[in-house]
Amino acid sequence: MMFYRLLSIVGRQRASPGWQNWSSARNSASAAEAHSMALPTQAQVVICGGGIMGTSVAYHLSKMGWKDIVLLEQGRLAAGSTRFCAGILSTARHLTIEQKMADYSNKLYHQLEQETGIQTGYTRTGSIFLAQTQDRLISLKRINSRLNVIGIPSEIISPKKVAELHHLLNVHDLVGAMHVPEDAVVSSADVALALASAASQNGVQIYDRTSVLHVMVKKGQVTGVETDKGQIECQYFVNCAGQWAYELGLSNEEPVSIPLHACEHFYLLTRPLETPLQSSTPTIVDADGRIYIRNWQGGILSGGFEKNPKPIFTEGKNQLEIQNLQEDWDHFEPLLSSLLRRMPELETLEIMKLVNCPETFTPDMRCIMGESPAVQGYFVLAGMNSAGLSFGGGAGKYLAEWMVHGYPSENVWELDLKRFGALQSSRTFLRHRVMEVMPLMYDLKVPRWDFQTGRQLRTSPLYDRLDAQGARWMEKHGFERPKYFVPPDKDLLALEQSKTFYKPDWFDIVESEVKCCKEAVCVIDMSSFTKFEITSTGDQALEVLQYLFSNDLDVPVGHIVHTGMLNEGGGYENDCSIARLNKRSFFMISPTDQQVHCWAWLKKHMPKDSNLLLEDVTWKYTALNLIGPRAVDVLSELSYAPMTPDHFPSLFCKEMSVGYANGIRVMSMTHTGEPGFMLYIPIEYALHVYNEVMSVGQKYGIRNAGYYALRSLRIEKFFAFWGQDINNLTTPLECGRESRVKLEKGMDFIGRDALLLQKQNGVYKRLTMFILDDHDTDLDLWPWWGEPIYRNGQYVGKTTSSAYSYSLERHVCLGFVHNFSEDTGEEQVVTADFINRGEYEIDIAGYRFQAKAKLYPVASLFTQKRRKDDMELSDLHGK
């Protein structure tokens, strides 16, 4: 019955004066208005939103065997952004996970018509990405390298070839292009209807004209939804409400923050050309001209991402469907100019319509999926940054896997809702940030680019002091962190000019900071790190930590343990350092962006025990890292306490006084492998301690340093960072951290079984350090991350991070090596021998550089003392 209902919806939409290419096959749909049908009172899953996301989630859940699913749509199915979507499916994305989602979507839509009988208008046109500049071509080459290794055909082509593929294009100003032949165009509304139809046949119940008012939550768990037609009890709720997802999230008693914001988006439809364009005409993306162009019913459809976007619905103006918003030709003028420059012959082509179709954008230009950290069973899939059609299939699949299996089959941390906190939910922030994000869609994406809007939200108490000393800032999770310090006599390029794939202009500045870390002492403000305290009345804290962490935490008071918080599969949910402050109290330091994720994970797994207290103390402490051989001198002079390794061994934590301030947590560790200390300072003492350190440190050559120096230091020593190099699909054994796992610590812990199995069977991938050999730092493209790694000419994995090592005077990349079977492509065990016996190359934008693989860090970097005959006069200079 549901299927008939659905078809009636399709019938209605056909009658409406929609311009979309509705297929005629569905005319037969008849009758049976089902408004009277009552909502069920109970379901396992309620999905809110009948666009491509909601229907895709319903489709995949039902395919995976979940049947008790209700999908609610406030207006009509496929009537929101989905209906107005330009219908371009493009796999050329910057993130590998996005490429994979788009690739899956492409394959899914391709066979959807066959599966459901509903025409989707799927046509494989291919797409061409134009480069007007060399930098754009580099960007395309990087994407091209990565597309090829995951099996999506693509190639870099000459302007001449472009002209052959599309006869209307003016190619005189092009330096090259990328051709992706298997990209497609498809009617997104019909795809959503087809997915809904298939889901309906699998038992999913679909109700339109039904609005979700709010989600009912009890004890942090979804219990049901309140709609305008009654209540439905459920275990899972999926928010696929598109641009209304933010409002819907806030409507709960316990709000779920889903940071996204809509902007108006315009595209143009024309009447057919005199000789109508063939439906196989490739789609053009001219990012430098800020436009895309596809064939549409013999004419063209062309839109773009302008420099001055118009955010909309900031006040949360709700409406059933996106009504036809006003066309704004004046706003479209730059894009129209760009179009006519690209295709001059279109001058005489007649306009049909300018469509205004709001699109949703997120603060970091990546979509949002996953479970709410605050409410269990509350899932989200929204914020597609105008790539809803491309991601729809894949994103729906991953979310369904997440719900059914507890985790998706790929690492989706980059898209996880938990990468955001409540701090990104301000309307003002979102409005300002999306105005930067939307133009960024077609801006050149270069390494180390920082957002300029929505800044200076969370800052260290030292912010002004550091800023006055030339600090340049980057932002992580809303927290400002210094990148490097520009000396007073030095001038850097303007922001826009400093965009480069080559050697950056701060190279010398960071070099001197690194040198100072190695030879004297530097201070780095690392206050952004997430800091938790876990205390209990008895042994509960130790017990729960022993269960949650893989290393043995039953250590003497004052010891620090590096350990991982693993999932059932043995993968890292978090990588942290834990100090035992006393018998019943632990201090836990995690990466900055773990604040929401780690908290949610701990809350989920900790027993509800009032004797066990978990507290987020991130805001209470300012963290200063003293790095370098002279750190010990500075600190002992400030505390009148001996700080030598005999008195203060490595990985040790002590509360002591520094200057006048008491109660400073001093830890003999750094995050880079250099000698030094971390000081955790109650914030009211931060300025005092900083001033004391700087004034005493003067005679030891102290200076400020930033995260770029830190990054260079940690990567050259093969220190992997969570979220960048390792994630929830990486086990300690795969990144050479067997020593941080105590399988036999006398009790079970999460992930132990998986690790035991892995220890027995061997690992299928291995984090490896690569030192680039024939790479010219001044002239060659710099590695970034995501570059394919080739072993003996065979693709074996991708890099995860890279940095220039000022000590080795080489670029160092970290990355995973797999062992794909030459015959079947199946993953095989990776042994140390396999790694050591290969010849390696790293592919940077199509150029392959030879690299030496190393499983262990370069030992010479750890020798702390310099020989006497190495000393020279310049060592006497202040740094």
């Binding site: 030709w329 479209f332 003028e333 006519l340 279109l346 001058e347 007649e350 306009i351």
Partner: protein
């Protein structure tokens, strides 16, 4: 005794003094007169000596000539940046919006924009705007001074009071007079809307008040108690004539205070034209004396703009004025009363305030000058009697009053001194202001609708709209926008920055060669209110 005067009255700058000490006009430009026989006298209000008049050349010739000369003698090129240009153009801009009460704007005037650009140093133009407090309506006026700014300054301060008093009903006049008599607080008559640069002279305030009081006392005495209806046209004419009369009288009587004595003489011996609009609901009166102009901007049904002139220029281009002058003087003077398009071969406007040299008898002139302060006596210009001066007065301040009943399609009124009208055609003025005002308030969004539009056509249209918008958005003031066009327009009717920059960077003494002082007031009407008035009747 020039020094103490300067100390007393810093507003009189050096050049101003030199002008008053006689030789005013040509002394000031003496170096030019010497270097070139082609004195650009045609652009000056006065031709001080008939001998010079014969050297007059058509404007165009002079233009080419001086321009060429300028290039030759100033080899260094000097351009103002757009922000510098803007700061010059915007220095005197002023905007007034009629406040809305209870969210409803009951006035037929939305507000006005005004601005002026000096060419003389100091500027001789003046402007005034005020709301009548004891009667309804608003007064707006531009005043173009010549032979100094004393007269235009005095008229700009005083005329609106004379008009307001002329409009006041008998009871109100009595109430005011009684209040003065008994030393009570006076009813305020005018609410001025002034730019900070628009000053009033404190020193003469008492003298001016006394003259005004005499006027209303006479009005009280003359009142027969019959008609209470006050005719605006009559009131305007009376006010103009009365003020000019007072100016003349004050100069004849003199003042014991030597500074004031000198001031009233300067006012009387210099001159000023006036163009004043009185707007009360849908009733628009324009009183004009001289060659400033009032222009109504009318939007036709198709959206295009047309200009309706609401005043007649009183100069040699006006046949009726020529006729009038000939009739007022004996036939024997028919050839001499207007020579070279000038009154007695000297004065361009045929009606003006002040200018007693064209009004007083020769005896009176001689007597006043002789008894006047030394400065006046030393001034060759004031001593100089116009040629063929047989049957004074030759000049009057009596205005020509035009009445217009506002219609919803009447969108705005432009009042401007001849500095604007001699550079721009009235049709262009109205079009530029009209497009500016509509652009500011509702740039109609384009919709394709059912029309056949090609991408190329749309692109052309959008590009045109964008260039228009960008020039419009530079100015927040319609008068400034108009000045930008008046000074910077190239042959294609669009603002040319290079030209604008050149024109604005002319040295003080050269500026007057290229352009006159420009003063503009743009009054915007509220079509809804005007339409409502129409429906009421």
């Amino acid at each position: 005794m020039p020094a103490p005067t300067q100390l007393f009255f810093p507003l009189i700058r050096n050049c101003e003094l030199s002008r008053i000490y006689g030789t005013a006009c040509y002394c000031h430009h003496k170096h030019l007169c010497c270097s070139s026989p082609y004195v650009p006298q045609s652009r000056l209000r006065y031709t001080p000596h008939p001998a010079y008049a014969t050297f007059c050349r058509p404007k165009e010739n002079w233009w080419q000539y001086t321009q060429g000369r300028r290039y030759a003698s100033t080899p260094q090129k000097f351009y103002l940046t757009p922000p510098q240009v803007n700061s010059i153009l915007k220095a005197n801009e002023y905007s007034f919006k009629v406040p809305e009460f209870d969210g409803k704007n009951v006035s037929s005037i939305l507000g006005f924009d005004s601005n002026q650009l000096p060419a003389n140093a100091p500027i001789e133009d003046r402007r005034s705007a005020a709301t009548c407090l004891q009667t309804r309506g608003m007064l707006l006026g531009v005043f173009d001074g010549h032979a100094g700014c004393a007269c235009s300054q005095a008229v700009s301060e005083r005329l609106f009071y004379y008009i307001a008093v002329s409009l006041l009903p008998h009871e109100t006049l009595l109430e005011i007079e009684n209040a003065v008599e008994s030393g009570r607080a006076l009813l305020p008559i005018l609410q001025w809307h002034k730019h900070p640069n628009d000053y009033f002279s404190k020193e003469a305030s008492k003298l001016y008040f006394n003259s005004l009081r005499t006027y209303w006392q006479e009005l009280i005495d003359l009142n027969t108690g019959e008609s209470t209806d006050i005719d605006v046209k009559e009131a305007l004419i009376n006010a103009f004539k009365r003020l000019d009369n007072d100016i003349s009288l004050e100069a004849q009587v003199g003042d014991p205070n030597s500074f004031l004595n000198y001031l009233v003489l300067r006012v009387a011996f210099s001159g000023a034209t006036a163009c004043v609009a009185h707007v009360d609901g849908v009733d628009l009166h324009v009183a004009n004396t001289g060659d400033s102009r009032a222009m109504l901007g009318v939007q036709e049904e198709d959206g295009s703009w047309s200009a309706v002139t609401l005043s007649n220029d009183h100069n040699a281009q006006n046949e009726r004025e020529l006729e009038r002058l000939k009739l007022e003087h004996p036939k024997s003077e028919a050839k001499s009363v207007v020579k070279q398009d000038r009154l007695l071969g000297l004065l361009m406007p045929f009606r003006a305030f002040g200018d007693v040299k064209f009004k007083w008898s020769i005896d009176l002139q001689k007597r006043v000058i002789e008894s006047g302060p030394d400065q006046l006596n030393d001034n060759e210009y004031t001593k100089f009697i116009p040629p063929n001066y047989h049957t004074p007065p030759y000049l009057t301040a009596e205005p020509e009053v035009t009445y217009h009943r506002l219609r919803p399609q009447d969108k705005f009124l432009v009042l401007a001194t001849d500095g604007l009208w001699e550079t721009m055609h009235r049709q262009d003025v109205v079009r530029i202001v009209g497009e500016y005002l509509t652009g500011m308030h509702h740039q109609q969004p384009i919709a394709v609708g059912g029309y056949k539009v090609t991408l190329g056509q749309m692109h052309g249209l959008l590009t045109e709209r964008r260039t228009k918008m960008s020039s419009v958005f530079e100015d927040q003031n319609a008068a400034t926008h108009l000045i930008r066009h008046a000074v910077g327009n190239n042959e294609f009717g669009t603002v040319d920055h290079e030209r604008l920059s050149k024109m604005l960077s002319l040295p003080e003494e050269l500026a007057r060669m290229y352009r006159d002082d420009i003063t503009i007031i743009v009054v915007q009407f509220n079509s809804h209110v005007v339409g409502a008035y129409q429906n009421q009747e």
